[in-house]
Symmetry: C2
Subunit: 355 residues, 2 copies
């Protein structure tokens, strides 16, 4: 329409992967912020603390002693949200099987995976072969847990702001006997898109973004990172392979190396944005496993979502609250503005530059 | 199943209003918490601060001076996410009308509504006629804005933890020319339920909860409050009328009085839970308005959602992060446990008791 200025005027955008919408109100960045500031991100983490249950050689809550690991280290979560042998809830007291009171069994496993033996290390500061070791371990767990479970959710909560209770670099892997909401949703939208247009949704999307470039953050031969057209979080990104690969374990050796490289570049930019160890939650989505392994999952494309909370500075986050919880996600700068800012940041980490 | 213990064993529960699931892992409350604590909730708010733009007589960012109001006071948000005359984005640069790059116009208004002239006042401490005045003003705005806009979202962010930038008791009203995600979702599920079962979803649900009682928090002749069977937030509640009323403006004078009463009782219990002014986001959902006013919206039931973040104490919240964002909401105590705790709390406010 006449007079529409992308940086000034609000509009809504459609998220084809979740079949929902986001309200983009670019002009809201002009608003002064008098609300809550966040505690400073902890930057003075000791490299080794024998009382930290994630450190090599430390004793965990259940009395087990960690090995003196030198690369990654995986163990069962001591307080798992999912356990393998939980009984079926067919007799929830007073509930019966009314359609408004539906429940189902939840079985699974929760694992913790340390990325590195040092507590003061983070992925962007790690060497490429160290990141590659993390990727290989992810693929290994996806195979191992995916043999039984239909969904293996690999995710990292980074920073206290994202509920992470331990600064030691680590992620979690929760495998379940059910397809979680986000998996069901993306399965449906990707399936419908393939039927309607003859190409996988995210493969088509990635190719278009590689041409248009305005939402591109970093790219290499095998991967690209964009602030998706429908991003909700201020600096949300989507990491996509260029090849039609549906699961982590199908990545070639070269693709794993180039993944390590693009992750390091993305996460370095993130840290450089506000010169702080950038908090986020991230996770991998790929074709379902377990009983789905025999099915045709060609509508899927492997991808990772990064959801970082910071908006204006190291201490001012975006709150997804009232309107967002009750009505619809709302963002205060356009995805193109966010991509442009990330793109223009150096690829050398501010902490190694400073030294 | 044999051996299933509600308080011990995880399961998933279906949310018929959002057509999704929640993972209930009751045993996770046993986990020690070493993560981020929240800043203490601000309890020492000055009653009157001339520099607070929500106070009577104060000058706002745009130079306007508030009246010396004595009850509620409504004004246009000085930094609105929605504006009435935003141009149509038919020409987003480089976007065209590809199905993966869909956008649409967003027009609307954002209003702020002060509940009371005093900054140190909160709804549970207000007198019933004062709360009744808030309800009347809500209904008035719903009529006024609903004449044009299909959705009028009334919501309150309470507490800095919920992104509320001003302690003065207030809510917001955002009206839009589109049905937001949550509205579309609840419209679909309620419509499907009425078709399938011949009764409105939430009317049937409320009647069953009134009989079963295990998730009931407070009730009176016209209203009931439950921790819904599918609650996601630890102490989430759903406020329902007993009568089939679809919009705030249709409430009778008696129903408005009894609503003021049940709100005061619920919010007093919330404050008493951790003896702190309890943070939450809340909002009203009812039948769509504007162009929908002529349609049959009998599948709707008016209701309010309360989403409070606190989990263990005044300073330990639930983080909806990695697994929740990437896979599925997860809760650490059962809805029945939460309801039982809220039910057993006194209905006299801890601050009036102490004096
Ligand atoms: O109340 P405010 O300061 O306008 O803003 C608050 O509520 C809005 C609506 O839920 C959110 O978009 C903001 O992130 C939040 O800080
Ligand atoms: O990493 P933790 O300490 O197990 O827990 C964190 O991540 C979980 C999975 O996203 C969330 O359910 C918790 O609320 C959060 O604090």
């Amino acid at each position: 329409g006449a007079g529409f200025v992308l940086r000034e005027h609000q509009h809504i955008r459609y998220n084809p992967l979740r079949d929902d919408w986001v309200l983009v109100s670019a002009h809201r960045m002009k608003r002064p912020w008098q609300g809550q500031g966040e505690k400073p991100v902890q930057e003075d983490v000791p490299r080794y603390d024998p009382s930290n249950p994630l450190c090599p050689g430390a004793t965990r809550a259940n009395g087990k002693v960690n090995p003196e690991y030198e690369s990654t280290f995986v163990f069962d979560n001591d307080f798992p949200a999912l356990e393998p042998d939980a009984p079926e809830p067919s007799c929830l007291p007073g509930v019966g099987d009314h359609p408004l009171f539906r429940s189902a069994s939840a079985q699974g496993v929760c694992k913790v995976m340390c990325f590195h033996p040092w507590s003061d290390m983070t992925l962007p500061l790690m060497a490429l072969p160290e990141i590659r070791a993390v990727i290989d371990k992810w693929a290994e767990l996806a195979v191992e847990l995916g043999a039984t479970y239909p969904w293996v959710q690999i995710f990292e909560n980074k920073g206290a702001m994202m509920g992470c209770s331990n600064p030691h670099p680590h992620c979690q892997v929760w495998a379940s006997n059910f397809l979680p909401n986000e998996a069901r949703l993306e399965d449906r939208t990707q399936r419908e898109h393939l039927q309607a247009r003859g190409q996988p949704l995210l493969l088509e999307y990635g190719r278009l973004e590689a041409q248009r470039k305005e939402r591109l953050v970093v790219e290499n031969t095998d991967w690209l990172v964009v602030v998706p057209y429908w991003a909700v979080w201020p600096f949300q990104t989507l990491l996509l392979p260029r090849r039609h690969v549906t699961q982590l374990q199908d990545l070639s050796a070269d693709e794993r190396d180039s993944l390590a490289s693009i992750m390091k570049r993305l996460l370095t930019k993130y840290d450089n944005l506000f010169e702080v160890s950038f908090p986020y939650s991230m996770g991998w989505h790929g074709a379902p496993t377990g009983s789905h392994l025999g099915e045709d999952c060609g509508h899927w494309l492997l991808h990772a979502h990064y959801y970082p909370p910071l908006l204006r500075s190291a201490s001012v986050r975006k709150f997804m609250v009232g309107y967002e919880m009750l009505a619809q996600a709302q963002r205060d700068l356009t995805p193109e503005q966010a991509a442009q800012r990330l793109r223009s940041l150096p690829e050398e980490h501010y902490r190694t530059r400073a030294q």
